[in-house]
């Protein structure tokens, strides 16, 4: 078979790319298209699916619990992005400043990272238990019985409690990333800034932060993605409760799709519609972040 000469340069690269491309199409593109089609149907997995067009999306727009889950996802994402970026950065800077025992502290901070989410979730659920948990028992012993929150059992306290655990669990991971980045900041920049009369805070804001900005952006992106898709930690600790007060898009999707916790009715089409909304949200947020990142790079180039 004669291949036109203009196509010949593409044959070898095409053959190399083909296996990965086929695998990607089969494992990602096909299920994605399938999910989009499923979101346009009503299906409980037991009886044949019924085509309903955009009915699932119309119902979603009227679903109060969905909007609560959307709000909780947003709340969790914003809080964790802020906490899980600033705290590790500050602590990494402190450890990088040459304080004694920084290796020990780094190890201690990193330890929660190696504990599985399921285990740490269960441990924290026990600590937070409002009636006999260690935290409230300690508060009572200190004479602070009037200030014992319901923690995971309270509709107002559950999200902050979950966020605290998330920050505790991930601190070490982001700390290591920042610590590695800080090692690469030239010492003479700090010396020059000191000679110019810059204090510790000024050196941090004007030397450290601009120098490691690409790493900060990566941490922000990672935290954002983890926030939007948060599921396992919340599922283990609260199952989205009490009364959906910690339901996120992930936990709501799961309970709709699989009829968790004794539910009798799986609504796979509706769940697929939620999944598509999560996908669209993730794409939009990622595009915004990429756009912001590019603009800052451009600004930096102009400044140079």
């Amino acid at each position: 078979m004669n291949v036109p000469s203009r196509l010949q340069p593409f044959i070898a690269p095409g053959l190399f790319i083909a296996p990965a491309a086929i695998a990607l199409i089969l494992t990602t593109a096909v299920p994605m298209v399938d999910a989009v089609l499923l979101s346009l149907q009503r299906w409980n997995a037991m009886t044949p699916a019924v085509w309903t067009g955009f009915d699932n999306y119309v119902r979603l727009a009227q679903d109060e619990t969905f909007f609560r889950a959307l709000w909780h996802t947003f709340y969790f994402t914003v809080c964790t992005v802020i906490l899980q970026t600033i705290l590790p950065l500050l602590i990494a800077s402190l450890l990088n400043s040459g304080i004694r025992g920084s290796t020990v502290f780094r190890t201690l901070y990193f330890m929660p990272v190696i504990i599985s989410l399921a285990i740490s979730g269960l441990l924290w659920a026990m600590l937070f238990e409002p009636n006999f948990g260690a935290i409230n028992s300690m508060l009572r012993a200190m004479g602070l019985g009037a200030f014992t929150p319901l923690w995971l059992a309270g509709t107002n306290s559950v999200m902050p409690s979950v966020i605290i655990v998330s920050a505790w669990q991930s601190l070490g991971f982001y700390l290591v990333i920042f610590f590695a980045a800080l090692q690469g900041v030239p010492k003479d920049l700090y010396e020059a800034a000191t000679l110019d009369g810059a204090g510790a805070w000024s050196r941090f804001m004007n030397v450290t932060v601009p120098t490691i900005r690409p790493v900060i952006l990566i941490v922000v992106v990672l935290n954002t993605i983890n926030g939007i898709k948060v599921f396992d930690q919340i599922w283990v600790m609260t199952a989205g409760g009490p009364n959906y007060a910690s339901a996120t898009l992930g936990t709501y999707l799961y309970s709709i799709a699989f009829g968790a916790m004794g539910a009798s009715n799986s609504r796979l089409g509706y769940a697929a519609a939620i999944a598509i909304v999560i996908l669209v949200l993730s794409i939009v947020v990622s595009l915004i972040q990429i756009r912001i990142g590019r603009r800052r790079d451009l600004d930096a180039q102009i400044e140079v």
């Binding site: 409002p130 009636n131 059992a153 199952a239 009490p242 539910a263 009715n265 799986s266």
Partner: protein, 412 residues
């Protein structure tokens, strides 16, 4: 030569006549920890069946409760249901859509007479039993007699008595009645029998086909009102929607709660992990009634049933396995091992725990439905139950919401 040919022909015929038994694996799936390979009575049960059916291997697949329904849903969607399995709250819909064997087509009426009526009724839909109850259950109140004596109160006979006693419990530093609703499936256990106490029919509500019958009817509103009054009065632990069942049991074990709401399977759990104080002092009582001479309707039925895949390649063998599982001698092994409320009347003698036997005696007079199978019913009720407990919805609005959510689920 002739003899050799005859032997060869006979071997071929034998192989052709029993192909299924040559190397058949029967897939059994359950979420019940008691039915894990390695458990004495389950191993004995399986070994007995395999011995009676040479060439058959029973493969027991245990999936933890939290993951069971998602796993089952995935299997249904993929068309790969096991041969014999626990259908859970999906039993009704699976049966109605033709995926399960209607046992009435297979077994004679005498077979069904062996079961207690309530547990069997629970897995019968449109007069077709799609599931056979494994262990039965009935709910009650477990009281710490030491604490009750210290507080100076009797186990309440009515809900009003319980509400009236709350200040005494609180003054002594005790939670009156402990249970947890984190997993959202305990509140319906508590709440649905209250509907029966107010004259409602939970089976009919779940079925939702009777003209004029709806979830926003008066018995449901009254039951939600009582649930909310109990919660507001401080009968239950703080943050009940965020406490799970083991945690609520710990409240009883640690002497923080005077009473614990649980089912007939819990004495078995108490024996495994209860404190000495609890084990030495606990007694069992019917849940309170509305009036001193009222019926103490409480949840009965079966937490799980065995069903057979109607489309499975081993349907006949699966039915044989079911018949074997419910053969009185075989069932007795399990009942004796589990020491829980048996669904077969003949196994009651195997239960040595006097508290469980006391609870079994209530089934004839005080039983009420507490599990929902209709599309959307369980979610609708458990969601509103949580809201009633935390006071975020009024009883009338809650009843309307259940009705609206059930209708929405059945048209979506």
């Amino acid at each position: 030569m002739k003899r050799l040919k005859a032997i060869a022909a006979s071997a071929v015929l034998t192989a052709a006549a029993f192909p299924a038994l040559a190397d058949t694996t029967l897939h059994v799936m359950s979420w019940q920890p008691a039915y894990v390979a390695g458990t004495d009575y389950w191993d004995k049960t399986v070994a007995g069946f395999e011995a009676e059916n040479p060439g058959v291997k029973v493969e027991s697949n245990f999936v933890a409760f939290g993951q069971y329904l998602p796993t089952l849903t995935a299997m249904i969607a993929a068309g790969s249901l096991p041969d014999v399995f626990n259908g859970g709250t999906k039993t009704g819909e699976l049966g109605r859509s033709g995926h399960l064997v209607n046992f009435k087509d297979v077994y004679d009426p005498a077979f069904f007479d062996q079961f207690y009526a309530g547990p069997l009724r629970q897995y019968t839909f449109d007069d077709k039993p799609y599931g056979l109850p494994d262990m039965a259950q009935i709910f009650g109140v477990f009281a710490n007699d030491r604490i009750m004596k210290e507080v100076g109160v009797e186990v309440p006979n009515t809900w009003d008595e319980l509400i009236a006693d709350v200040p005494k419990f609180k003054a002594a530093g005790y939670i009156p009645l402990s249970w947890g609703n984190l997993t959202r499936n305990t509140c319906p256990d508590f709440f649905l029998p209250l509907i029966a106490q107010y004259g409602g029919d939970v089976y009919a509500l779940d079925d939702h086909t009777a003209p004029g019958l709806s979830w926003d009817s008066k018995p449901v509103v009254d039951a939600l009102d009582l649930l909310q009054r109990l919660s507001k009065a401080g009968v239950f632990p703080d943050g009940i929607n965020g406490i799970d069942d083991p945690q609520s049991r710990q409240l009883a074990y640690q002497g923080r709660a005077a009473m614990y709401f649980g089912g007939s399977w819990t004495p078995g759990i108490f024996a495994q992990d209860g404190t000495k104080d609890w084990l030495d002092n606990y007694s069992v009582h019917k849940v309170p009634a509305l009036t001193p001479d009222g019926i103490h309707f409480t949840g009965d039925g079966a937490g799980e049933a065995w069903s057979v895949n109607a489309d499975g390649p081993n349907k006949d063998l699966a039915l044989k396995f079911i018949a074997y599982l419910y053969r009185p001698d075989v069932y007795n092994w399990r009942a004796k091992g589990l020491q829980s409320f048996p669904s077969m009347k003949s196994a009651v003698d195997q239960i040595g725990n006097p508290k469980v036997r006391t609870m079994i005696s209530w089934i004839a007079t005080d039983s009420a439905n507490h599990i929902l199978f209709g599309p959307g019913s369980w979610d609708a009720v458990s969601n509103v139950c949580q809201s009633a407990l935390d006071g975020s919805i009024s009883p009338a609005d809650g009843a309307k919401k259940i009705e609206a959510d059930v209708m929405a689920a059945r048209t979506n």
